[in-house]
Amino acid sequence: MRWVLAALAALAVGSLVATACSSSNDSSTTGPIKGQRITVLIPYKVPQSILDRFTAQTGVKLSFQVTAFDALHQKLVVAASAQTNIADVTEMDWSWVGQFGGSGWYTPLEKSLPAPVVADLGKTNKIFTARSHLYAACYSNDIRFPIYNGDQFTKAGISSFPTTFTGLEQTLDTLKAKHVAQYPMTVALGATEGGVTPWYLLTLSMGGQLFDKDNKPVFGAPGSVAHQALQFEIQALKQGWLNPGAITLDDAAAADRFTGGAASISLASGPGSLVTANDKTQSHIAPNAKAALMPGVNSAGPTLGLPEGLGIPSTSKHQAAALAFIKWWESTPTQRLLYKQAGFLPCSGAALSSLSASGELQGGAVVAEAVKHLTPLFPNGAPPWYPAFSAKAQGLINSAVKGDISVDAALAQLEDATKKIASR
């Protein structure tokens, strides 16, 4: 009898503790946020001095975690599938929106973010919207454009960046012939997400498309622009425009060749890399990096936008504090600092105008022009099956540039696989 009473007492105490814990969680979501600690997980470093401002303003403590891009997607997928929480605010790449939003893994933001903030983010909201809900606030307006070493161009007697692919080929030959760089261009071609982006970009800038308006693949037919784009990568390796090891490089390692001075052109680069390349603490070639528009067939060609946003996992126990972080991050003063010290080109119209007006926007004219050339990879928005498509593309594109399979075979296999993936 005594045992039964003891067990009942233990059960009652346990229930009280559980209730107390659960109410404390509830209050953390709705009550005052001061003193709470949130975890932010993105793939890029941010100076601590900027992050300290958030804690000073809100009283919310911050655990800022950085994980490599590909690994981050895997961690988020695993955590979300297991319905466990690993962070309160996370990266939301443009390519994950269909998958993450469609699965209900993230909290819709359209009602909780202040209307002026949503309005200021403008067109980028569409990219982060799935099933009529906004799942992330854009923070990095990552536009792909080439950057080049102005000093090395001058040494080779080249006055400007070419605007056509024919011109680009001549420029690369000149840089090589003048021994300015043994391998004058750098592009990631390894079997990673960064290794397929150049193929997407080249296809668009050569005037082609990978998907039609219904997101159906259109790259499989021999002679398509996507074929020409892949052939250009192979030609670049054969001509010695690219280093032989490019086929094993991810985008960070490829960018290092540019900042180290080993390559004169980083073709599939962007605003963040431009800032890094002109930062003396991170680059040997500072301040000689310059921005250019993607070459095209007859003049500057279309380019690719790879915007990144911040989202709140629905498993976060600190929704209010997480939202406060996003509001602070999207504020114009923070966006200005993030651009100047971390290289994130703001999505916020107000921050962009402010940087442009003060003359602090590096390559400002090029960036403004590049925005006009933006072309979506998926005309109908990123589908939920993008990660599966990308994983397949990484292997096949890498095999083609290595010469293990022909371009025709690689793209035909990729088109078949894409149709299967999309129909699952």
């Binding site: 590909d70 997928v77 599938s81 390894g190 032989p244 094993t248 099956w385 990660p387 292997g395 290595k402």
Partner: protein, 278 residues
């Protein structure tokens, strides 16, 4: 008395195994964003006809054959060399253990530096000796890439195989060699008729360790060549399917197939070991 062991095994092995089997029979979830649903053996059928899975299985077979062959031959040479006492034997043994002591990721990173096409030691040495004219990308072509990844794997495992075989050699009584010498047997005959038969139990253990390690090769492949198709192993394919493609149903089904393969091989070697020690 056996209850704690049974409970522990059931909770640590049995539960995940049963749950894994159940998940491998379901579709949806992960990248699809759809609720999971029962699909029977469809995931397994998909995998059997999937070209990436087939090539990963073929690569794993290559890793297995190359690695186990080199490990047994290398291990045997090292063990026979170290069997006799000589000055500095202790030091050699200590050095021998080093590659085994290194985590396989660290070995992979070290070898990546050696095999780097632009600044690696191997290309630099071959270029300075005029054996090659231009830098070679060792991890690009199928043959070289699989060979070098196997070599890195062997480098880490040869010490363990050598120690297993050395222990086996030291258990063979010296008087057998003495008696055979009296009968006129040479070194080769002694090795053929005394060493090899009596070393069989140790060889089976080394073979088991080498085979199971080769079937589950992952770290070296990932560090040296990422998820590239030309070197992808079965476990890499499990990883790629589950985490890169976020297709957990097919990923778990493939993991189950690898587990069945490993278990079958372990049972075969277990029977061989039993026969060898009879």
């Amino acid at each position: 008395m056996v209850a704690p062991a049974v409970i522990l095994t059931a909770s640590l092995v049995g539960y995940p195994l049963v749950r894994g089997i159940m998940m491998s029979l379901r579709g949806g979830g992960g990248a699809t964003g759809l609720p999971t649903h029962y699909v029977g053996l469809r995931n397994y059928r998909d995998l059997i006809s999937d070209p990436d899975t087939k090539s990963a299985a073929l690569h794993t077979a290559f890793y297995l054959v190359i690695a186990v062959t080199l490990e047994i031959i290398g291990g045997l040479i090292v063990a026979v060399t170290l069997q006799r006492a000589f000055r500095g034997r202790g030091l050699v043994l200590a050095i021998l253990i080093l590659p085994w002591a290194l985590p396989s990721v660290v070995s992979g990173v070290l070898w990546r530096r050696i095999l780097d096409p632009d600044s690696g030691l191997l290309n630099r040495a071959l270029l300075s000796l005029h054996i090659i004219n231009t830098p070679h990308v060792w991890l690009a072509s199928d043959g070289w890439a699989i060979f070098f990844i196997s070599l890195v794997h062997v480098w880490g495992l040869v010490p363990l195989v050598s120690l297993v075989l050395l222990a086996g050699l030291q258990s063979i009584p010296d008087n057998l060699y003495g008696a055979s010498a009296v009968d006129g047997a040479g070194a080769l005959q002694q090795f053929r008729y005394i060493t090899l038969p009596l070393l069989r139990p140790a060889l089976v253990v080394a073979l088991t360790v080498g085979t199971l390690a080769a079937v589950s090769i992952f770290d070296e492949v990932y560090v040296l060549n990422g998820t590239a198709l030309n070197t992808r192993s079965l476990l890499m394919q499990v990883y790629n399917t589950s985490f890169n493609q976020a297709d957990f149903s097919h990923g778990i089904a493939l993991a189950m197939m690898v587990a069945i393969l490993s278990a079958t091989l372990a049972i075969i070697f277990g029977v061989m070991l039993r026969r060898a020690t009879r």
